[in-house]
Amino acid sequence: MRAFSYTRAQSPAEAASAAAHTDNAKFIAGGTNLLDLMKLEIETPAHLIDVNGLALDRIEETPDGGLRIGALVRNTDLAANERVRRDYAVLSRALLAGASGQLRNKATTAGNLLQRTRCPYFYDTNLPCNKRKPGSGCAAIGGASRQHAVVGVSEACIATHPSDMAVAMRALDATVETVRPDGAARTIPIAELHRLPGDSPEIETTLQPGELITAVTLPKPVGGTQAYRKVRDRASYAFALVSVAAIVQPDGTGRVALGGVAHKPWRVEAAEAELPRGAKAVTARLFADAKPTQDNAFKLPLAERTLAAVLREARG
């Protein structure tokens, strides 16, 4: 871990401004992924801005009946929130499927969205990785890729986004609120927050340098039966091979987002029209352009079967 200076931010705008105007600065909140990466010098900030004191840790009702979740709300608190448990069960379920009790107590809402891939080649600084070292190549292609993405991949990167929470938020059509270095606030639909790798996998989100996530808002509840099904080898404390976030309405319509299959939570709205026809039809659309490797081709039938199970259960 390289030496860094450390300050505690006083306000979101000041934090954003400081981040933009300090060389190689990063925000730190829960720290559960950032410090992991700093120890390996995959992340090498020269300055850390501790945003934990920013009072962004509240969950409030919005005027339209939705929820506004402060960026610093811990995963445990978000999962345990009564409104979330009642009206956004898919989110509660996704959070509880992730990490461990200890990590959920520290990890924040914004930090969870911004966590980085667990691709083992990204984590080993001796090996090529375009995400870690642009232009060095992708060692996962042609390497051990059982965990990797099957859709939305590029020649440069086949990493997945590891979050469970983000998959549920994608299904819920969440919106990310930010403050920019100039102090201006903006909102970003979660669909537009994460990028596909393309030829610049090192750029993972549409946030600008210094831009700070302040909250995530959920629209008013959409009802339906909500489920998050995470499939993994180990029964707990493991990243998803495939996960399915689903909201199924009594009339058979609904929403589906997948985790563990792409560089971002994978949702194709057009595929949801196929829901009444069943999982096979939906996944056929979701994976229309899939490019699995030999190691991870199983994710295609696995996702289909997992979705089928979720739909069967949702429909009773």
Partner: protein, 169 residues
């Protein structure tokens, strides 16, 4: 170097630390509270679990300087060999350990888990998110899954925690 002050097991400590120092290394290397263990240093094993302001966390993935004013409880704060905390005594009775290296983390986690259940925090295996949480065996095993025991004492650990939970319920 940055100054930080926090409470560990009821004692206030003022430290001047390299900003890179994790809470774990501050405890082990600076305060010589070596009961908290370093198993992986990357949040992948749970051996470093401590309780900060009532919540269990991995002390390896947090910087010491981020804990200004916090109240930290480590394994040494729960009990000592001549006056064991009930959870510690239950681990001895049920042989809830072998090599002993993950044990302080398991015990800190177990103590916090019982609190989490009391506060109604659900888990991955909670069947009904809107009903009160009950500490079943499945609940306990899911909640303890962030603490790896390579010796494989899980079954005995479950018995130990179950006994303490039953007593305190």
């Amino acid at each position: 170097m940055t100054k930080v002050s926090f409470d560990v097991n009821g004692d206030t400590h003022q430290l001047e630390l390299d900003t890179r120092t994790t809470l774990l290394d501050a405890l082990r290397e600076h305060l010589h509270l070596t009961g908290t263990k370093k198993g992986c240093d990357h949040g992948q094993c749970g051996a470093c679990t401590v309780i900060v302001d009532g919540r269990r966390i991995n002390s390896c993935l947090t910087l010491a300087v981020m804990h200004e004013g916090d109240e930290i409880t480590t394994i040494e704060g729960l009990g000592a060999p001549d006056h064991l905390h009930p959870m510690q005594a239950a681990f001895v009775k049920h042989d809830g350990y072998q090599c002993g290296y993950c044990t302080p983390g398991q015990i800190c986690s177990a103590v916090a888990v019982l609190d989490e259940v009391r506060s109604g925090i659900p888990s991955h295996v909670t069947a009904d998110l809107t009903a009160p949480v009950r500490l079943t065996n499945a609940e306990l095993r899911e909640r303890m899954s962030g603490n790896i025991c390579r010796c494989g004492a899980y079954s005995n650990i479950a018995d130990a925690i179950g006994e303490v939970a039953g007593r305190s319920a």
